[in-house]
Symmetry: C2
């Protein structure tokens, strides 16, 4: 029952556990799928947070399944902690964009090498936009305002990035 403030990643896991008891593996997969586009997390961290939350009484270990599978269920304390967390004012977003870093040191680089970096990254974003759009198209059944809003963000973001790629001066793209 250690007193420490819930962090966003742990809180998200609690959010998913409102749905049903899950193992760390399931939680990592769920998180990747549901919030992965704007909130990265790793398996390592999921297990670390689960261990801490179990210790703090926010979740409870269930019966072990096959393959060391250890499901966790949220407790009332966990629900309370989540409810408190979700009412916090969200902080500013952070972006870490290696390509821009390399680009800003572009004078140290042969132009065609840089152009290659740019072209390959553009491809990644083009592909991601396609995925998002397909997802949005097949979404009609869902009708989840919140999900739609975050998806819309992804699409707006990818479109902006692509437009930016296409607006770069020819000297950067060969």
């Amino acid at each position: 029952m250690v007193e420490r403030r819930l962090n966003a990643t742990a809180a998200s896991l609690l959010g998913f556990l409102h749905w049903e008891p899950m193992s760390g593996w399931d939680l990592a997969a769920t998180a990747e799928h549901v919030i992965g586009d704007f909130w990265s997390l790793t398996r390592s961290q999921v297990y670390r947070e689960l261990a801490w939350m179990a210790d703090a009484g926010l979740i409870e270990r269930g019966e072990q399944g096959p393959r060391e599978r250890q499901p966790y269920a949220i407790t009332d304390a966990g629900r309370a902690a989540f409810a408190e967390w979700v009412r916090q004012e969200p902080g500013p977003e952070t972006i870490r964009f290696p390509l821009l870093l390399t680009l800003s040191f572009g004078r140290h680089l042969p132009p065609d090498l840089l152009a290659g970096f740019i072209a390959r990254q553009r491809e990644v974003h083009a592909r991601r936009l396609t995925e998002y759009e397909a997802h949005a198209a097949s979404n009609e059944a869902g009708r989840d305002v919140f999900r739609e809003a975050t998806l819309a963000f992804g699409i707006a973001y990818e479109r902006a990035v692509l437009a930016w790629f296409d607006s770069l001066p020819a000297e950067l793209t060969r």
Copy 2:
């Protein structure tokens, strides 16, 4: 002369030291100013990387100035390490956007609280866009393709975010 791969943050510091010898304080300020919009770093980390790089012979301590001020100069080994780093293929960007996280758990939140979060974040982005645009306008003297490209990214990004805010359904924004 420990063998460890140069990370992007340390490499950036080396990049700035090509310019002139600087202290950790200066480097942190420079980084914040030059790459801070797409590559976050903290003072703590700057000092940590400097200590390691000095150890590894990539930089050299100069004469101490007033107030513990400790300038560092890049060495030939440092220039070589930087040159090698900058030729690496840049990885994918990561975004961590707390607002989207909160939004995706929006069902657990009273609508007007969420609307407040959204409104305040929109303000932040509006202000940032204004700053970027002012910067871009006063930029004519510079004529630095690389700088212009990264600034253009910032502007494209902020405009897309604002457009997204404005496209949200009324039920989310009150």
